[in-house]
């Protein structure tokens, strides 16, 4: 396996509100290689955005806390850094793109100023002309004529605003880009444009990317690796071939694929996953997916599953014995395609 750029080990994050404690992340393990894209897939409440915010230490003050774990960027634990050092990393080594382009840009500054701001912050010795040149360069790169840098965000459409956001994020050539559902709010045809542009820029800068999305189509299109999250844990991780073409999957992954209307086949009814994600203030003891799993066993109630590995593919489920090679009785049921309810 290539050099790991970022490694998250056993990350536990809670949110404390007036009434409850929300267990947002419960032992997340994730790694990203330099220059590669990993898709972080899951539904609302799985903890994807929390993971991204934790990397940048942008959890809401007084509400979000990292309880345990490490986030190691090129050998350095980001959780140990002082705030001033962390600020040097944000925008420079690690950047983030947020979901809603409408509110990501400050309406009272020109777009050129906003791109220039991040360049100036991390390159205090640049002259005005150098900063200007870089701003022009970034705008051309995202496909917006440089003359438009004096315009304000409201003069641009949603797709163009998202490009500007990407320009800001990549202005200092970061090593890692965190993209939180960057194209969800965009039309499909604009999404295609933006995704292609992101792919090209990634190649050019050799930026690694964590792409948060719920759209498996987008994942198949541009990701190298895929991690699937549920109730604050990574329950399955592997290369994109492992996930889309492998024969073994976590039951939740199977459910996710079954929920999507297939464009290629005509199906009468979809196969949704019954039920809802567990209450994050009161998570079950054993496997968190147990309540909704069609393959639930006695073991699942009490014992947290271990991770089973096969090459690059890891699954956190009792159905798969840790040595994978041997198949457990329940895995055999799995293979014969046990009837779903």
């Amino acid at each position: 396996m290539a050099e790991k750029l970022l490694e998250i080990r056993d990350l536990h994050v809670t949110y404390r509100t007036d009434d409850d404690v929300i267990y947002a992340l419960n032992g997340v393990n994730l790694s990203v290689e330099a220059g590669k894209t990993i898709g972080l897939v899951g539904e609302t409440g799985a903890g994807k955005t929390t993971t991204a915010l934790s990397i940048l230490r942008l959890l809401p003050d007084r509400v979000g806390f990292v309880r345990q774990g490490e986030i190691v960027l090129e050998g350095q634990n980001l959780l140990d850094l002082a705030e001033a050092d962390m600020r040097m990393i944000r925008g420079n080594d690690v950047s983030m793109i947020f979901q809603d382009p409408m509110t990501s840009l400050n309406p009272i500054h020109t777009v050129g100023d906003q791109i220039g701001e991040v360049i100036k912050l991390h390159n205090p010795d640049f002259r005005e002309s150098e900063i200007d040149a870089r701003v022009d360069e970034m705008m051309e790169m995202v496909g917006i004529p440089a003359e438009r840098k004096v315009e304000y965000p409201h003069q641009f459409s949603g797709g163009m605003k998202q490009r500007i956001v990407i320009a800001i994020a990549l202005a200092c050539s970061p090593k890692l880009l965190l993209a939180d559902e960057p194209t969800t709010a965009l039309d499909v045809t604009i999404q295609a444009q933006v995704l292609r542009m992101m792919g090209e820029l990634k190649e050019k800068f050799n930026t690694a990317m964590i792409l948060i999305t719920h759209d498996l189509g987008v994942v198949a299109q541009i990701c190298d690796w895929v991690a699937i999250m549920y109730a604050g844990e990574v329950i399955e991780i592997g290369t994109v071939e492992d996930i889309f073409e492998g024969d073994r999957h976590h039951p939740y992954t199977v459910g996710l694929f079954g929920s999507i209307p297939d464009m290629t086949k005509k199906t009468k009814r979809l196969n949704p996953i019954e039920g809802l994600m567990p209450d994050p203030t009161a998570l079950p003891r054993g496997c968190r997916f147990m309540e909704r799993c069609p393959h639930k066993m006695q073991r699942c109630v009490e014992i947290v599953p271990e991770i089973s590995e096969k090459g690059t593919h890891q699954i956190k489920c009792h159905l798969f014995s840790p040595l994978w090679g041997e198949s457990t009785p329940s895995a055999r049921i799995w293979e014969t395609g046990g009837k779903r309810r």
Binding site: D187, G217, M263, L270
Partner: protein
């Protein structure tokens, strides 16, 4: 051919703005037969949401006709419209803002019943509420809860129950699953299809998601900048798309499979403004097949196959 349940002829809606006349919906003709689903797809600014609301007269059209069971609803007076509301209903996109936060689930579902005077005794109304909750899969214990205590999927079920309360024949569904998680989407879509089979409902299904519309529709209308550019049966549209915009739309969708990891064909540019649109085809500036005539002549919907209409000069 049986008379359609819902039909529009030359339906138009223009808004006056400071910068000019906004053509939200421009000369749209559609027909929906009883028991069928017409999917309406398009991207932002195509006018599909406005179109849906025009069918219910939630917005007053600027021109054209909306025929329900052969009668032009635009000529109905207030009392006739009140009666009509029993037969035509709507499900909204946002399960958060489409429910009154100060009313309980049963009050929300009972509202259309009380307003149309279908039932008047408290007992009868509550019976019907419980019945509807059962139909949409809401547990009885939620009868006195408030919407903010429930998740998106359950809230959308309340919206569906409310739409079904007075036994309508036709329901306009304005992106009913777009705001929901994928697995909840699937549950709700299944529910809607089951209801259609059981109760013989007719749907107008508005969405931007082509995979969803393929799953649920019998026919599909593709809209662009207020006009209908292509209309066909679902399979026909996906197998033989004709209008360049339809083709671009289908090409732009990322498929959840490595086998079809295709080279996405991008259409250039952005949607032009619907305010004071220029003459000629509105898709022309972005069209790969643009010809000289396209910016001068406006194409109209022509039948190029059984039930397949396209509005493009390439097919004249």
């Amino acid at each position: 051919m049986k008379a359609p349940l819902v039909e529009t002829r030359n339906l138009k809606k223009y808004f006056e703005t400071a910068r000019g006349l906004l053509h939200a919906v421009d000369d749209v003709d559609i027909r929906i037969a009883e028991g069928e689903t017409l999917g309406v797809v398009g991207e932002s600014g195509c006018g599909k949401s406005t179109f849906g609301r025009l069918l219910l007269r939630l917005i007053e059209p600027t021109g054209g006709e909306v025929l329900f069971k052969g009668r032009n609803i635009l000529e109905c007076n207030r009392r006739e419209m009140r009666d009509l509301r029993r037969e035509v209903q709507i499900i909204f996109q946002d399960p958060f803002s489409s429910l009154n936060p100060r009313m309980t689930v049963s009050e929300i579902i009972a509202e259309p019943i009380k307003v149309t005077g279908t039932l008047s005794k408290r007992n009868e109304i509550l019976d019907r509420v419980f019945e509807l909750m059962g139909i949409v899969g809401l547990a009885e214990r939620f009868v006195n809860t408030f919407p903010h205590e429930l998740d998106g999927g359950r809230r959308q079920r309340i919206g569906i129950a409310r739409a079904l309360a007075v036994n309508p024949q036709f329901i306009v569904c304005d992106e009913p699953v777009s705001a929901l998680d994928v697995s909840i989407q699937a549950q709700i879509l299944n529910l809607m299809m089951d209801l259609q089979d059981d109760m013989g409902l007719t749907y107008l299904f508005i969405t931007h998601d082509l995979s969803v519309v393929k799953h649920i529709s019998d026919h599909i209308a593709v809209m662009y900048l207020g006009q209908c550019v292509e209309l066909a049966e679902t399979d026909e549209l996906f197998n033989h798309p004709c209008h360049p915009y339809t083709k671009a739309l289908l090409d732009a969708i990322p498929v959840a499979s490595l086998k079809n990891r295709k080279e996405i064909k991008i259409i250039k540019g952005e949607v032009s403004s619907p305010i004071n649109p220029r003459p000629g085809c509105r898709f022309a500036p972005r069209c790969a097949h643009m010809m000289a005539d396209c910016s001068v002549l406006s194409p109209t919907l022509k039948e190029i196959g059984p039930g397949h209409l396209v509005s493009c000069l390439l097919y004249s």
